[in-house]
Symmetry: C2
Subunit: 309 residues, 2 copies
Protein backbone atom coordinates (compact mmCIF):
# COMPACT_ATOMS: atom_id res chain seq x y z
CA UNK A 1 0.00 0.00 0.00
CA UNK A 2 1.22 3.54 -0.63
CA UNK A 3 0.95 6.41 1.83
CA UNK A 4 0.20 10.08 1.40
CA UNK A 5 1.01 12.68 4.05
CA UNK A 6 -0.11 16.29 4.08
CA UNK A 7 1.60 18.64 6.50
CA UNK A 8 4.44 21.05 7.03
CA UNK A 9 7.94 21.10 5.60
CA UNK A 10 10.00 23.45 7.72
CA UNK A 11 13.24 24.84 9.03
CA UNK A 12 13.53 24.36 12.78
CA UNK A 13 15.88 26.16 15.16
CA UNK A 14 15.95 24.29 18.43
CA UNK A 15 17.72 24.69 21.75
CA UNK A 16 17.63 22.08 24.51
CA UNK A 17 19.78 21.69 27.66
CA UNK A 18 21.98 19.43 25.54
CA UNK A 19 22.76 21.66 22.57
CA UNK A 20 21.23 23.71 19.78
CA UNK A 21 20.87 23.74 16.03
CA UNK A 22 19.95 26.45 13.52
CA UNK A 23 17.62 25.85 10.57
CA UNK A 24 17.50 22.06 10.63
CA UNK A 25 15.20 20.31 8.18
CA UNK A 26 11.94 19.64 9.96
CA UNK A 27 8.16 19.87 9.82
CA UNK A 28 5.46 17.29 10.45
CA UNK A 29 5.38 15.88 6.89
CA UNK A 30 9.18 15.75 6.76
CA UNK A 31 9.53 13.71 9.96
CA UNK A 32 6.63 11.48 8.95
CA UNK A 33 8.00 10.79 5.48
CA UNK A 34 11.46 9.85 6.65
CA UNK A 35 10.07 7.38 9.18
CA UNK A 36 7.39 5.81 7.00
CA UNK A 37 9.72 5.33 4.02
CA UNK A 38 11.40 2.45 5.87
CA UNK A 39 8.22 0.47 5.31
CA UNK A 40 6.34 1.77 2.26
CA UNK A 41 6.26 4.37 -0.50
CA UNK A 42 5.14 7.76 0.73
CA UNK A 43 3.92 10.81 -1.18
CA UNK A 44 4.64 14.04 0.65
CA UNK A 45 2.37 17.05 0.08
CA UNK A 46 3.39 20.46 1.44
CA UNK A 47 4.75 23.86 0.44
CA UNK A 48 8.30 25.24 0.48
CA UNK A 49 9.78 28.63 -0.43
CA UNK A 50 12.73 29.85 -2.41
CA UNK A 51 15.00 29.11 0.56
CA UNK A 52 14.36 25.38 0.10
CA UNK A 53 17.18 24.49 -2.25
CA UNK A 54 18.38 21.43 -4.10
CA UNK A 55 20.34 20.21 -1.08
CA UNK A 56 17.22 20.25 1.13
CA UNK A 57 15.20 18.53 -1.58
CA UNK A 58 17.85 15.86 -1.93
CA UNK A 59 17.71 15.07 1.79
CA UNK A 60 13.95 14.78 1.64
CA UNK A 61 13.91 12.63 -1.49
CA UNK A 62 15.32 9.50 0.08
CA UNK A 63 14.36 6.16 -1.45
CA UNK A 64 10.61 5.63 -1.15
CA UNK A 65 9.75 9.31 -0.64
CA UNK A 66 7.94 10.83 -3.63
CA UNK A 67 8.33 14.61 -3.75
CA UNK A 68 6.41 15.62 -6.87
CA UNK A 69 3.71 17.19 -4.69
CA UNK A 70 6.15 19.33 -2.75
CA UNK A 71 4.94 22.72 -3.92
CA UNK A 72 7.59 25.37 -4.56
CA UNK A 73 6.08 28.81 -4.02
CA UNK A 74 8.12 31.42 -5.91
CA UNK A 75 9.05 34.41 -3.77
CA UNK A 76 7.93 32.59 -0.64
CA UNK A 77 9.72 31.57 2.52
CA UNK A 78 9.58 28.07 4.01
CA UNK A 79 7.76 27.61 7.32
CA UNK A 80 10.14 28.44 10.17
CA UNK A 81 9.90 27.46 13.84
CA UNK A 82 12.19 28.44 16.67
CA UNK A 83 11.72 26.83 20.05
CA UNK A 84 13.43 25.52 23.14
CA UNK A 85 13.00 22.88 25.80
CA UNK A 86 14.08 22.97 29.43
CA UNK A 87 14.87 19.80 31.41
CA UNK A 88 11.22 18.83 31.10
CA UNK A 89 11.55 17.69 27.51
CA UNK A 90 7.80 17.04 27.32
CA UNK A 91 7.07 20.75 26.96
CA UNK A 92 8.12 22.73 23.87
CA UNK A 93 8.40 26.51 24.30
CA UNK A 94 7.84 28.39 21.05
CA UNK A 95 10.04 31.46 20.59
CA UNK A 96 9.17 32.32 16.99
CA UNK A 97 6.88 31.01 14.26
CA UNK A 98 6.99 32.34 10.69
CA UNK A 99 4.30 30.62 8.63
CA UNK A 100 5.68 31.87 5.31
CA UNK A 101 4.26 29.86 2.42
CA UNK A 102 2.28 27.77 4.89
CA UNK A 103 -0.08 30.68 5.57
CA UNK A 104 -1.69 30.41 2.13
CA UNK A 105 -1.24 26.66 1.72
CA UNK A 106 -3.95 24.89 -0.24
CA UNK A 107 -3.03 21.24 -0.70
CA UNK A 108 -2.88 20.23 -4.37
CA UNK A 109 -2.75 16.47 -4.78
CA UNK A 110 -1.60 14.73 -7.93
CA UNK A 111 -3.41 11.60 -9.05
CA UNK A 112 -0.61 9.51 -7.48
CA UNK A 113 -1.10 11.15 -4.08
CA UNK A 114 -4.88 10.87 -4.30
CA UNK A 115 -4.59 7.16 -5.06
CA UNK A 116 -3.02 6.36 -1.68
CA UNK A 117 -4.39 3.53 0.44
CA UNK A 118 -3.04 5.00 3.69
CA UNK A 119 -3.40 8.71 4.45
CA UNK A 120 -1.92 10.80 7.25
CA UNK A 121 -3.48 14.18 7.92
CA UNK A 122 -0.72 15.80 9.96
CA UNK A 123 -1.45 18.67 12.30
CA UNK A 124 -2.77 21.45 10.03
CA UNK A 125 -6.01 23.48 9.86
CA UNK A 126 -8.98 21.09 10.03
CA UNK A 127 -10.50 22.73 6.90
CA UNK A 128 -7.44 21.66 4.90
CA UNK A 129 -7.53 18.17 6.43
CA UNK A 130 -11.17 17.83 5.38
CA UNK A 131 -10.41 18.87 1.81
CA UNK A 132 -7.57 16.36 1.53
CA UNK A 133 -9.67 13.62 3.09
CA UNK A 134 -12.33 14.16 0.43
CA UNK A 135 -9.77 14.01 -2.37
CA UNK A 136 -8.35 10.69 -1.12
CA UNK A 137 -11.60 8.79 -1.32
CA UNK A 138 -9.99 5.42 -1.99
CA UNK A 139 -7.88 5.42 1.21
CA UNK A 140 -8.42 2.32 3.35
CA UNK A 141 -6.81 3.68 6.52
CA UNK A 142 -6.79 7.37 7.40
CA UNK A 143 -5.20 8.84 10.53
CA UNK A 144 -5.26 12.36 11.87
CA UNK A 145 -3.21 14.46 14.26
CA UNK A 146 -4.26 17.84 15.65
CA UNK A 147 -3.44 20.26 18.48
CA UNK A 148 -4.91 22.47 21.21
CA UNK A 149 -5.12 25.49 18.84
CA UNK A 150 -7.58 23.73 16.51
CA UNK A 151 -9.52 22.13 19.36
CA UNK A 152 -9.97 25.68 20.68
CA UNK A 153 -10.64 27.58 17.48
CA UNK A 154 -12.02 25.10 14.95
CA UNK A 155 -13.60 22.33 17.01
CA UNK A 156 -16.66 21.89 14.76
CA UNK A 157 -14.64 21.35 11.59
CA UNK A 158 -12.19 19.15 13.47
CA UNK A 159 -15.08 16.94 14.60
CA UNK A 160 -16.28 16.70 11.01
CA UNK A 161 -12.83 15.45 9.92
CA UNK A 162 -12.63 13.05 12.84
CA UNK A 163 -15.90 11.44 11.71
CA UNK A 164 -14.23 10.51 8.43
CA UNK A 165 -10.99 8.94 9.72
CA UNK A 166 -10.02 5.53 11.08
CA UNK A 167 -7.54 6.61 13.73
CA UNK A 168 -6.97 9.72 15.85
CA UNK A 169 -3.47 10.33 17.21
CA UNK A 170 -3.32 12.92 19.99
CA UNK A 171 -1.47 13.39 23.23
CA UNK A 172 -3.25 12.79 26.53
CA UNK A 173 -3.96 16.45 27.25
CA UNK A 174 -5.39 17.01 23.77
CA UNK A 175 -7.65 13.97 24.07
CA UNK A 176 -8.98 15.26 27.39
CA UNK A 177 -9.43 18.76 25.99
CA UNK A 178 -11.20 17.50 22.87
CA UNK A 179 -13.69 15.35 24.76
CA UNK A 180 -13.97 17.11 28.11
CA UNK A 181 -13.31 13.74 29.75
CA UNK A 182 -10.57 13.68 32.41
CA UNK A 183 -10.38 9.88 32.25
CA UNK A 184 -8.26 8.80 29.28
CA UNK A 185 -10.13 5.58 28.55
CA UNK A 186 -13.47 7.40 28.53
CA UNK A 187 -11.98 10.14 26.38
CA UNK A 188 -10.85 7.55 23.84
CA UNK A 189 -14.23 5.80 23.92
CA UNK A 190 -15.90 9.14 23.25
CA UNK A 191 -13.75 9.66 20.14
CA UNK A 192 -14.45 6.11 19.00
CA UNK A 193 -18.16 6.88 19.39
CA UNK A 194 -17.72 9.62 16.76
CA UNK A 195 -16.53 7.14 14.11
CA UNK A 196 -12.82 6.25 14.25
CA UNK A 197 -12.11 2.63 15.09
CA UNK A 198 -8.96 3.45 17.01
CA UNK A 199 -7.31 6.13 19.11
CA UNK A 200 -3.61 6.42 19.86
CA UNK A 201 -2.78 8.42 22.98
CA UNK A 202 0.78 9.73 22.67
CA UNK A 203 2.32 9.92 26.13
CA UNK A 204 5.82 11.22 25.54
CA UNK A 205 8.36 9.60 27.84
CA UNK A 206 5.65 7.19 29.04
CA UNK A 207 5.07 5.70 25.61
CA UNK A 208 1.79 5.31 23.78
CA UNK A 209 -1.55 3.63 24.26
CA UNK A 210 -3.85 2.19 21.60
CA UNK A 211 -7.56 1.98 22.30
CA UNK A 212 -9.83 0.26 19.79
CA UNK A 213 -13.53 -0.67 19.93
CA UNK A 214 -12.77 -3.89 21.75
CA UNK A 215 -9.11 -3.68 22.61
CA UNK A 216 -6.45 -1.95 24.67
CA UNK A 217 -2.70 -2.05 24.13
CA UNK A 218 0.00 -0.01 25.77
CA UNK A 219 3.74 0.23 25.16
CA UNK A 220 6.34 2.14 27.16
CA UNK A 221 8.76 4.41 25.38
CA UNK A 222 12.05 2.72 24.58
CA UNK A 223 14.28 3.60 27.57
CA UNK A 224 16.99 6.08 26.68
CA UNK A 225 19.67 7.50 28.95
CA UNK A 226 20.15 10.41 26.61
CA UNK A 227 17.40 12.37 24.89
CA UNK A 228 18.69 15.38 22.97
CA UNK A 229 15.68 16.81 21.11
CA UNK A 230 12.09 15.59 21.15
CA UNK A 231 11.03 17.74 18.17
CA UNK A 232 9.22 15.59 15.60
CA UNK A 233 8.84 12.56 17.86
CA UNK A 234 5.06 12.45 17.40
CA UNK A 235 5.23 12.62 13.61
CA UNK A 236 8.07 10.11 13.52
CA UNK A 237 5.90 7.81 15.65
CA UNK A 238 3.05 8.31 13.17
CA UNK A 239 5.43 7.48 10.30
CA UNK A 240 6.48 4.18 11.86
CA UNK A 241 2.88 3.43 12.83
CA UNK A 242 1.26 4.08 9.44
CA UNK A 243 4.27 2.74 7.55
CA UNK A 244 3.80 -0.60 9.28
CA UNK A 245 0.09 -0.64 8.48
CA UNK A 246 0.84 0.11 4.83
CA UNK A 247 3.49 -2.61 4.70
CA UNK A 248 1.23 -5.26 6.19
CA UNK A 249 -1.78 -4.30 4.16
CA UNK A 250 -4.04 -5.77 6.83
CA UNK A 251 -5.79 -4.02 9.67
CA UNK A 252 -6.28 -6.53 12.43
CA UNK A 253 -5.31 -6.03 16.06
CA UNK A 254 -1.92 -7.74 15.59
CA UNK A 255 -1.00 -5.34 12.79
CA UNK A 256 -1.98 -2.33 14.90
CA UNK A 257 0.17 -3.62 17.77
CA UNK A 258 3.12 -4.19 15.49
CA UNK A 259 2.53 -0.67 14.16
CA UNK A 260 2.68 0.69 17.73
CA UNK A 261 5.99 -1.08 18.29
CA UNK A 262 7.49 0.30 15.08
CA UNK A 263 6.16 3.80 15.79
CA UNK A 264 7.64 3.69 19.29
CA UNK A 265 10.95 2.48 17.92
CA UNK A 266 11.23 5.12 15.21
CA UNK A 267 10.33 7.86 17.72
CA UNK A 268 13.04 6.62 20.09
CA UNK A 269 15.68 7.05 17.40
CA UNK A 270 14.32 10.48 16.50
CA UNK A 271 14.82 11.94 20.00
CA UNK A 272 18.37 10.59 20.39
CA UNK A 273 19.75 13.41 18.25
CA UNK A 274 18.63 16.76 16.87
CA UNK A 275 16.02 17.07 14.13
CA UNK A 276 16.24 14.33 11.53
CA UNK A 277 19.94 13.62 12.17
CA UNK A 278 19.50 10.16 13.64
CA UNK A 279 16.61 8.88 11.51
CA UNK A 280 18.35 10.06 8.33
CA UNK A 281 21.15 7.56 8.82
CA UNK A 282 19.09 4.79 10.43
CA UNK A 283 19.59 1.25 9.13
CA UNK A 284 16.90 -1.47 8.91
CA UNK A 285 18.77 -3.81 11.24
CA UNK A 286 18.76 -1.15 13.97
CA UNK A 287 14.98 -0.84 13.73
CA UNK A 288 14.48 -4.59 13.86
CA UNK A 289 16.79 -4.98 16.85
CA UNK A 290 15.02 -2.29 18.87
CA UNK A 291 11.54 -3.63 18.09
CA UNK A 292 12.75 -7.01 19.34
CA UNK A 293 14.17 -5.40 22.50
CA UNK A 294 10.85 -3.64 23.16
CA UNK A 295 9.14 -7.00 23.00
CA UNK A 296 11.58 -8.40 25.55
CA UNK A 297 11.16 -5.38 27.84
CA UNK A 298 7.39 -5.75 28.10
CA UNK A 299 6.96 -9.51 28.21
CA UNK A 300 6.13 -11.32 31.41
CA UNK A 301 5.22 -14.93 31.91
CA UNK A 302 2.31 -15.69 34.17
CA UNK A 303 4.41 -17.74 36.57
CA UNK A 304 2.06 -20.05 38.43
CA UNK A 305 1.29 -18.36 41.73
CA UNK A 306 -1.32 -19.58 44.20
CA UNK A 307 -3.39 -16.60 45.32
CA UNK A 308 -4.86 -17.07 48.79
CA UNK A 309 -8.48 -16.39 49.60
CA UNK B 1 8.69 -16.67 52.90
CA UNK B 2 7.09 -14.37 55.44
CA UNK B 3 6.92 -10.60 55.18
CA UNK B 4 7.24 -7.82 57.72
CA UNK B 5 6.04 -4.28 57.06
CA UNK B 6 6.71 -1.25 59.21
CA UNK B 7 4.64 1.86 58.57
CA UNK B 8 1.52 3.76 59.45
CA UNK B 9 -1.91 2.55 60.49
CA UNK B 10 -4.32 5.42 60.07
CA UNK B 11 -7.74 6.92 59.74
CA UNK B 12 -8.13 8.71 56.41
CA UNK B 13 -10.77 11.27 55.46
CA UNK B 14 -10.76 11.69 51.70
CA UNK B 15 -12.69 13.75 49.18
CA UNK B 16 -12.40 13.29 45.41
CA UNK B 17 -14.61 14.59 42.56
CA UNK B 18 -16.43 11.26 42.85
CA UNK B 19 -17.36 11.20 46.53
CA UNK B 20 -15.99 11.38 50.05
CA UNK B 21 -15.48 9.23 53.14
CA UNK B 22 -14.79 10.04 56.78
CA UNK B 23 -12.28 8.11 58.89
CA UNK B 24 -11.71 5.12 56.64
CA UNK B 25 -9.12 2.58 57.69
CA UNK B 26 -5.86 3.47 55.97
CA UNK B 27 -2.16 4.00 56.35
CA UNK B 28 0.81 2.65 54.44
CA UNK B 29 1.20 -0.55 56.48
CA UNK B 30 -2.55 -1.20 56.36
CA UNK B 31 -2.78 -0.99 52.56
CA UNK B 32 0.41 -3.02 52.17
CA UNK B 33 -0.74 -5.78 54.52
CA UNK B 34 -4.11 -6.24 52.88
CA UNK B 35 -2.54 -6.58 49.43
CA UNK B 36 0.40 -8.80 50.38
CA UNK B 37 -1.74 -11.20 52.42
CA UNK B 38 -3.14 -12.64 49.17
CA UNK B 39 0.28 -14.16 48.59
CA UNK B 40 2.11 -14.69 51.88
CA UNK B 41 1.98 -14.24 55.65
CA UNK B 42 2.65 -10.67 56.70
CA UNK B 43 3.57 -9.19 60.08
CA UNK B 44 2.39 -5.62 60.48
CA UNK B 45 4.31 -3.28 62.79
CA UNK B 46 2.83 0.12 63.65
CA UNK B 47 1.13 2.09 66.42
CA UNK B 48 -2.57 2.79 67.06
CA UNK B 49 -4.38 4.80 69.73
CA UNK B 50 -7.40 4.27 71.94
CA UNK B 51 -9.67 5.16 69.02
CA UNK B 52 -8.58 1.97 67.21
CA UNK B 53 -11.19 -0.46 68.48
CA UNK B 54 -11.96 -4.12 68.13
CA UNK B 55 -13.86 -3.55 64.87
CA UNK B 56 -10.86 -1.86 63.25
CA UNK B 57 -8.55 -4.59 64.51
CA UNK B 58 -10.84 -7.26 63.11
CA UNK B 59 -10.74 -5.67 59.64
CA UNK B 60 -6.97 -5.54 59.75
CA UNK B 61 -6.55 -9.09 61.01
CA UNK B 62 -7.66 -10.84 57.86
CA UNK B 63 -6.22 -14.32 57.15
CA UNK B 64 -2.46 -14.12 56.76
CA UNK B 65 -2.06 -10.78 58.55
CA UNK B 66 -0.34 -11.11 61.93
CA UNK B 67 -1.16 -8.19 64.22
CA UNK B 68 0.74 -8.99 67.40
CA UNK B 69 3.15 -6.13 66.69
CA UNK B 70 0.40 -3.56 66.28
CA UNK B 71 1.24 -1.41 69.27
CA UNK B 72 -1.66 0.03 71.25
CA UNK B 73 -0.60 3.29 72.90
CA UNK B 74 -2.86 4.03 75.90
CA UNK B 75 -4.23 7.56 75.86
CA UNK B 76 -3.02 8.06 72.30
CA UNK B 77 -4.80 8.91 69.09
CA UNK B 78 -4.31 6.99 65.83
CA UNK B 79 -2.56 8.79 62.95
CA UNK B 80 -5.15 10.84 61.03
CA UNK B 81 -4.93 12.25 57.50
CA UNK B 82 -7.45 14.41 55.71
CA UNK B 83 -6.93 15.16 52.05
CA UNK B 84 -8.60 15.74 48.73
CA UNK B 85 -7.97 15.25 45.03
CA UNK B 86 -9.17 17.32 42.10
CA UNK B 87 -9.64 15.85 38.62
CA UNK B 88 -5.89 15.34 38.44
CA UNK B 89 -5.94 12.27 40.65
CA UNK B 90 -2.15 12.08 40.57
CA UNK B 91 -1.86 14.94 43.08
CA UNK B 92 -3.02 14.57 46.68
CA UNK B 93 -3.78 17.81 48.55
CA UNK B 94 -3.29 17.48 52.31
CA UNK B 95 -5.84 19.40 54.40
CA UNK B 96 -4.92 18.08 57.84
CA UNK B 97 -2.38 15.70 59.38
CA UNK B 98 -2.49 14.64 63.01
CA UNK B 99 0.46 12.38 63.78
CA UNK B 100 -0.94 11.25 67.15
CA UNK B 101 0.84 8.12 68.37
CA UNK B 102 2.95 8.14 65.20
CA UNK B 103 4.92 11.16 66.47
CA UNK B 104 6.66 9.10 69.16
CA UNK B 105 6.70 5.80 67.25
CA UNK B 106 9.67 3.56 67.90
CA UNK B 107 9.20 0.25 66.09
CA UNK B 108 9.31 -2.73 68.44
CA UNK B 109 9.64 -6.00 66.57
CA UNK B 110 8.84 -9.38 68.06
CA UNK B 111 11.04 -12.33 67.18
CA UNK B 112 8.45 -13.40 64.59
CA UNK B 113 8.61 -10.04 62.81
CA UNK B 114 12.40 -9.93 62.98
CA UNK B 115 12.60 -13.40 61.40
CA UNK B 116 11.01 -12.22 58.13
CA UNK B 117 12.62 -13.09 54.82
CA UNK B 118 10.98 -10.17 52.99
CA UNK B 119 10.86 -6.71 54.58
CA UNK B 120 9.05 -3.57 53.49
CA UNK B 121 10.15 -0.27 54.98
CA UNK B 122 7.14 1.88 54.17
CA UNK B 123 7.45 5.66 54.00
CA UNK B 124 8.53 6.71 57.52
CA UNK B 125 11.50 8.61 58.97
CA UNK B 126 14.73 7.14 57.55
CA UNK B 127 16.15 6.80 61.09
CA UNK B 128 13.34 4.41 61.96
CA UNK B 129 13.78 2.52 58.69
CA UNK B 130 17.47 2.07 59.48
CA UNK B 131 16.71 0.72 62.95
CA UNK B 132 14.22 -1.80 61.59
CA UNK B 133 16.57 -2.84 58.80
CA UNK B 134 19.23 -3.64 61.37
CA UNK B 135 16.81 -5.71 63.46
CA UNK B 136 15.76 -7.81 60.44
CA UNK B 137 19.22 -9.04 59.60
CA UNK B 138 18.04 -12.33 58.10
CA UNK B 139 15.83 -10.72 55.44
CA UNK B 140 16.65 -11.87 51.92
CA UNK B 141 14.77 -9.11 50.09
CA UNK B 142 14.26 -5.64 51.54
CA UNK B 143 12.39 -2.82 49.80
CA UNK B 144 11.99 0.79 50.80
CA UNK B 145 9.60 3.64 50.02
CA UNK B 146 10.20 7.30 50.91
CA UNK B 147 8.99 10.80 50.01
CA UNK B 148 10.09 14.34 49.16
CA UNK B 149 10.03 15.39 52.85
CA UNK B 150 12.77 12.91 53.80
CA UNK B 151 14.78 13.53 50.64
CA UNK B 152 14.76 17.20 51.68
CA UNK B 153 15.32 16.93 55.41
CA UNK B 154 17.07 13.61 56.02
CA UNK B 155 18.91 12.78 52.81
CA UNK B 156 22.07 11.47 54.49
CA UNK B 157 20.25 8.94 56.66
CA UNK B 158 18.01 7.99 53.75
CA UNK B 159 21.09 7.22 51.62
CA UNK B 160 22.44 5.06 54.47
CA UNK B 161 19.22 3.02 54.47
CA UNK B 162 19.19 2.78 50.69
CA UNK B 163 22.67 1.22 50.78
CA UNK B 164 21.24 -1.65 52.84
CA UNK B 165 18.16 -2.52 50.75
CA UNK B 166 17.55 -4.56 47.59
CA UNK B 167 14.87 -2.45 46.01
CA UNK B 168 13.84 1.22 46.09
CA UNK B 169 10.24 2.10 45.22
CA UNK B 170 9.67 5.79 44.48
CA UNK B 171 7.66 7.84 42.06
CA UNK B 172 9.38 9.50 39.11
CA UNK B 173 9.61 12.95 40.70
CA UNK B 174 11.10 11.53 43.90
CA UNK B 175 13.70 9.54 41.96
CA UNK B 176 14.73 12.67 40.08
CA UNK B 177 14.83 14.71 43.28
CA UNK B 178 16.85 12.07 45.15
CA UNK B 179 19.50 11.75 42.44
CA UNK B 180 19.46 15.18 40.77
CA UNK B 181 19.12 13.36 37.44
CA UNK B 182 16.30 14.55 35.15
CA UNK B 183 16.57 11.38 33.04
CA UNK B 184 14.71 8.52 34.73
CA UNK B 185 16.99 5.73 33.49
CA UNK B 186 20.07 7.57 34.70
CA UNK B 187 18.36 8.33 38.00
CA UNK B 188 17.64 4.63 38.50
CA UNK B 189 21.20 3.67 37.53
CA UNK B 190 22.50 6.16 40.10
CA UNK B 191 20.41 4.50 42.83
CA UNK B 192 21.58 1.06 41.71
CA UNK B 193 25.14 2.36 41.99
CA UNK B 194 24.49 2.95 45.71
CA UNK B 195 23.71 -0.72 46.35
CA UNK B 196 20.12 -1.80 45.58
CA UNK B 197 19.81 -4.29 42.75
CA UNK B 198 16.52 -2.88 41.55
CA UNK B 199 14.48 0.31 41.36
CA UNK B 200 10.74 0.54 40.78
CA UNK B 201 9.55 3.88 39.40
CA UNK B 202 5.88 4.33 40.28
CA UNK B 203 4.19 6.34 37.52
CA UNK B 204 0.59 6.61 38.62
CA UNK B 205 -1.82 6.34 35.72
CA UNK B 206 1.12 5.45 33.44
CA UNK B 207 1.99 2.32 35.36
CA UNK B 208 5.36 1.32 36.74
CA UNK B 209 8.87 0.65 35.49
CA UNK B 210 11.41 -1.78 36.90
CA UNK B 211 15.09 -1.11 36.35
CA UNK B 212 17.66 -3.69 37.47
CA UNK B 213 21.42 -3.91 36.95
CA UNK B 214 21.00 -5.50 33.55
CA UNK B 215 17.29 -5.27 32.82
CA UNK B 216 14.37 -2.99 32.08
CA UNK B 217 10.68 -3.83 32.31
CA UNK B 218 7.70 -1.56 32.08
CA UNK B 219 3.98 -2.16 32.58
CA UNK B 220 1.09 0.23 31.97
CA UNK B 221 -1.51 0.72 34.66
CA UNK B 222 -4.55 -1.49 34.18
CA UNK B 223 -6.97 0.68 32.19
CA UNK B 224 -9.93 1.85 34.26
CA UNK B 225 -12.83 3.99 33.17
CA UNK B 226 -13.57 4.89 36.74
CA UNK B 227 -11.00 5.78 39.40
CA UNK B 228 -12.57 6.89 42.67
CA UNK B 229 -9.70 7.31 45.12
CA UNK B 230 -5.97 6.78 44.53
CA UNK B 231 -5.07 6.86 48.24
CA UNK B 232 -2.92 3.86 49.11
CA UNK B 233 -2.25 2.81 45.51
CA UNK B 234 1.52 2.90 45.97
CA UNK B 235 1.47 0.79 49.13
CA UNK B 236 -1.04 -1.61 47.61
CA UNK B 237 1.31 -1.95 44.63
CA UNK B 238 4.16 -2.66 47.04
CA UNK B 239 2.02 -5.29 48.77
CA UNK B 240 1.31 -7.15 45.55
CA UNK B 241 4.94 -6.75 44.45
CA UNK B 242 6.60 -8.03 47.63
CA UNK B 243 3.84 -10.57 48.26
CA UNK B 244 4.65 -12.17 44.92
CA UNK B 245 8.36 -12.23 45.68
CA UNK B 246 7.66 -13.87 49.05
CA UNK B 247 5.35 -16.44 47.46
CA UNK B 248 7.84 -17.43 44.76
CA UNK B 249 10.81 -17.50 47.08
CA UNK B 250 13.13 -16.83 44.15
CA UNK B 251 14.55 -13.54 42.96
CA UNK B 252 15.23 -13.88 39.28
CA UNK B 253 14.07 -11.45 36.59
CA UNK B 254 10.91 -13.49 35.85
CA UNK B 255 9.83 -13.33 39.48
CA UNK B 256 10.36 -9.56 39.58
CA UNK B 257 8.27 -9.16 36.42
CA UNK B 258 5.49 -11.31 37.82
CA UNK B 259 5.71 -9.20 40.99
CA UNK B 260 5.28 -6.03 38.89
CA UNK B 261 2.17 -7.51 37.28
CA UNK B 262 0.64 -8.46 40.61
CA UNK B 263 1.51 -5.09 42.16
CA UNK B 264 -0.08 -3.30 39.21
CA UNK B 265 -3.16 -5.46 39.47
CA UNK B 266 -3.65 -4.97 43.21
CA UNK B 267 -3.18 -1.20 42.82
CA UNK B 268 -5.81 -1.13 40.08
CA UNK B 269 -8.38 -2.68 42.40
CA UNK B 270 -7.40 -0.30 45.18
CA UNK B 271 -8.21 2.85 43.20
CA UNK B 272 -11.58 1.59 41.96
CA UNK B 273 -13.21 2.42 45.29
CA UNK B 274 -12.45 4.42 48.41
CA UNK B 275 -9.80 3.38 50.93
CA UNK B 276 -9.58 -0.37 51.40
CA UNK B 277 -13.18 -1.02 50.31
CA UNK B 278 -12.38 -2.87 47.11
CA UNK B 279 -9.29 -4.79 48.18
CA UNK B 280 -11.04 -5.91 51.39
CA UNK B 281 -13.53 -7.97 49.40
CA UNK B 282 -11.24 -8.99 46.56
CA UNK B 283 -11.24 -12.65 45.52
CA UNK B 284 -8.24 -14.63 44.20
CA UNK B 285 -9.92 -15.36 40.87
CA UNK B 286 -10.34 -11.62 40.23
CA UNK B 287 -6.62 -11.07 40.76
CA UNK B 288 -5.68 -13.93 38.47
CA UNK B 289 -8.03 -12.75 35.72
CA UNK B 290 -6.68 -9.21 35.75
CA UNK B 291 -3.02 -10.32 35.72
CA UNK B 292 -3.87 -12.44 32.70
CA UNK B 293 -5.60 -9.48 31.02
CA UNK B 294 -2.54 -7.28 31.65
CA UNK B 295 -0.43 -9.86 29.87
CA UNK B 296 -2.79 -9.77 26.88
CA UNK B 297 -2.81 -5.97 26.82
CA UNK B 298 0.96 -5.67 26.55
CA UNK B 299 1.84 -8.57 24.26
CA UNK B 300 2.74 -8.05 20.64
CA UNK B 301 4.05 -10.55 18.16
CA UNK B 302 6.95 -9.51 15.99
CA UNK B 303 5.00 -9.96 12.77
CA UNK B 304 7.52 -10.44 9.98
CA UNK B 305 7.96 -7.06 8.33
CA UNK B 306 10.59 -6.24 5.71
CA UNK B 307 12.26 -2.96 6.65
CA UNK B 308 13.64 -1.12 3.65
CA UNK B 309 17.14 0.35 3.54
Amino acid sequence: MSITVVGSIAFDSVRTPFGERERMLGGTAMHFSLASSFFADVHIVGPVGDDWGEAEMATLARPGVHTHDVERVPGGETFFWRGHYDYDLNTAHTDDTRLGVFAEFEPKLSEDSRACEVLFLANIQPELQLGVREQCDRARFVALDSMNLWIDTARDVLLRVIETVDCVLLNDAELRMLTGEPNLIRAARTVIGWGPGSVVAKQGEYGATLITRHGFFSLPAYPLESVLDPTGAGDTFAGGFLGTIAAHGGLDEEVLRSAMAHGTTLASFNVEEFGTERVSRLRPAEIEARVHELGEMTRFSGLPLPVRG
